[in-house]
């Protein structure tokens, strides 16, 4: 946007247009090129992308700066087009009428005398100018985009025939982690499975530890073999043994054997003695 665009295709009539000076005269003096053959008008109007586009056209046609619109003149011209459209019974979009109203309002505000010049008061055209400029920059941007080199129109991406692909099936990759997770999941599910179907007593070491502790006393020795019940099977024996070993480790019981292969006896550790936990273990080791 330059302040003084080159006078491209300016007709002499336009430079002489008097309405730019005196607002009242604009009504009677219409620019001659406003009259276009009626059958061409429809096509002509279709080229506008709306009221802002039409206004821009009217302004540009007279080489005027958007920032500096002779509002009365432009309003008159705009209304001429609106009238032409109605005369031709063209369906008139609401946007055009809204713009007509806006122009009329601006015009009336500008004609009203303002008693005191206040700096804060905005020029009535400000909003219109803002919208026109805003629209114009995107109108321009659309043209610029249209001129960008475009695929299929200006530039042509190449795709050549590729050599025949040799089929090499790549089998899925598996990490050890994945495999181990699958193993764990399968095992855990299997456990739940067995609980439901084989109603087996849960043989937890912790539970057995409690029952062993309940069976022994600090006063008397209990026979080691008494702690095992053959009817529980091998699993039961293993759990019992683990429970005994765990209890020894935690210094909760003492294990006594007089000589190799002699019967083993168990006694609960004295409550006061928390310390000498290793002795019973040593006894086992000696045996």
């Amino acid at each position: 946007m330059t302040e003084t665009p080159p006078p491209a295709e300016q007709t002499p009539q336009q430079t002489e247009m008097p309405f730019a000076y005196v607002q009242g005269e604009a009504v009677t003096t219409l620019p001659k090129d406003l009259y276009i053959p009626p059958d061409a008008l429809e096509v002509f109007l279709e080229t506008f992308e709306g009221p802002l586009d039409l206004l821009l056209y009217l302004i540009r046609r007279q080489n005027l700066d958007v920032l500096d619109i002779p509002i009365a003149a432009i309003t008159e011209q705009y209304m001429e087009y609106i009238e032409l459209m109605t005369d031709l019974r063209l369906e008139l979009a609401a946007e055009y009428l809204v713009m007509a109203a806006m122009l009329a309002e601006i015009k009336s505000r500008m004609l009203l005398p303002r008693p005191v010049e206040t700096e804060e008061e905005e020029d009535p055209r400000a909003e219109l100018v803002r919208r026109l400029q805003e629209y114009e920059r995107y109108k321009q941007a659309a043209e610029d985009i249209d001129h960008l080199p475009r695929v299929g129109r200006d530039v042509f991406p190449v795709q050549l025939e590729a050599p025949e692909k040799q089929v090499v099936a790549t089998p899925p990759q598996v990490s050890l982690v994945e495999l181990l997770k699958a193993a764990r999941d399968a095992m855990m599910r299997a456990e739940m499975f067995s609980h439901h179907h084989i109603q087996m007593e849960p043989l937890s070491v912790r539970e057995r530890m409690s029952s062993v502790l309940g069976a022994v006393s600090t006063e008397e020795f209990t026979s080691f073999t008494e702690l095992f019940r053959p009817e529980e099977g091998r699993m039961g024996v293993v759990v019992s043994l683990l429970a005994v070993l765990e209890l020894i480790k935690e210094s909760l019981i003492e294990l006594v054997q007089s000589e190799p292969f002699a019967p083993i006896y168990i006694k609960a550790a004295a409550a006061a003695e928390a310390g000498p936990g290793k002795e019973p273990v040593a006894a086992v080791a000696e045996s």
Binding site: A20, L52, I69, E117, E122, I145, L148, P157
Partner: protein, 222 residues
């Protein structure tokens, strides 16, 4: 792996790809034992660009990567190959596209506000079908209207690396400073079109009832 074969592999792969390739994608075609550095790929690209320069072929970077294309200078011959004319797009569509490109994320209502006319659904549909525009979210206002943005395909199609490559927008001028601006710019331009300026600009000044400032600027002018 020699410089030369890196170049030839990069060329062959780009020619066969049929879509832009990123540097990473180009690197990925090299086997484990022969991986060149990123710099070597860049050098290969530069070498190819140099070779192509005189041949009407281009190796360009667009949004999704590097692509080999027949350049604009070859258009007259290439376009004779096909009967059909490339599609033309309406101004309404291009203006809508421009607004989405420059103002994204933007709602349809916001596009309509700026253009001063309603945007037809078919335009939004076409833009989305072409995969130039997509819904990027919803504005948190009543009705939760869709917000639109442009896609990588849009940039690829218009030969752009990124949104920064879009033509710069026309500058907006501040209406409030119009008079000051006139004062500053007119004297310089006055020589070229002194009469035109006087005639074309003055009506505006006369209409605006800013007697004091307007008068001053006029005095400066003459």
């Amino acid at each position: 792996m020699s410089e030369k074969s890196i170049k030839h592999i990069v060329e062959a792969v780009l020619l066969a790809a049929g879509k832009p390739l990123t540097l990473d994608q180009l690197l990925a075609v090299f086997g484990d034992g022969e991986k060149p550095g990123r710099d070597q790929i860049r050098e290969a690209i530069a070498a190819l660009q140099e070779e192509y320069a005189e041949r009407g072929i281009e190796l360009v970077q667009v949004a999704s990567g590097w692509r080999i294309q027949v350049g604009q200078e070859m258009e007259p011959w290439v376009s004779r190959l096909t009967e059909e004319k490339p599609a033309r797009y309406s101004r309404a569509l291009l203006e809508t596209l421009a607004l989405v490109a420059y103002r994204q994320p933007i709602t349809r209502g916001e596009i309509e506000d700026i253009r001063g006319v309603s945007v037809s659904s078919s335009i939004m549909k076409t833009l989305q079908e072409r995969e130039w525009v997509r819904v990027v979210g919803h504005r948190d206002v009543p009705g939760r209207p869709a917000m639109y943005g442009t896609t990588r395909q849009f940039l690829d199609y218009f030969n752009l690396k990124g949104l920064d490559d879009l033509p710069t927008l026309m500058e907006l001028r501040d209406f409030d400073t119009i008079n000051a601006e006139l004062e500053l710019t007119l004297p310089g331009e006055g020589a070229e079109a002194e009469e035109a300026a006087g005639q074309a600009q003055e009506p505006g000044l006369v209409v605006v009832p800013v007697a004091g400032e307007g008068g001053e600027s006029n005095e400066t002018l003459h």
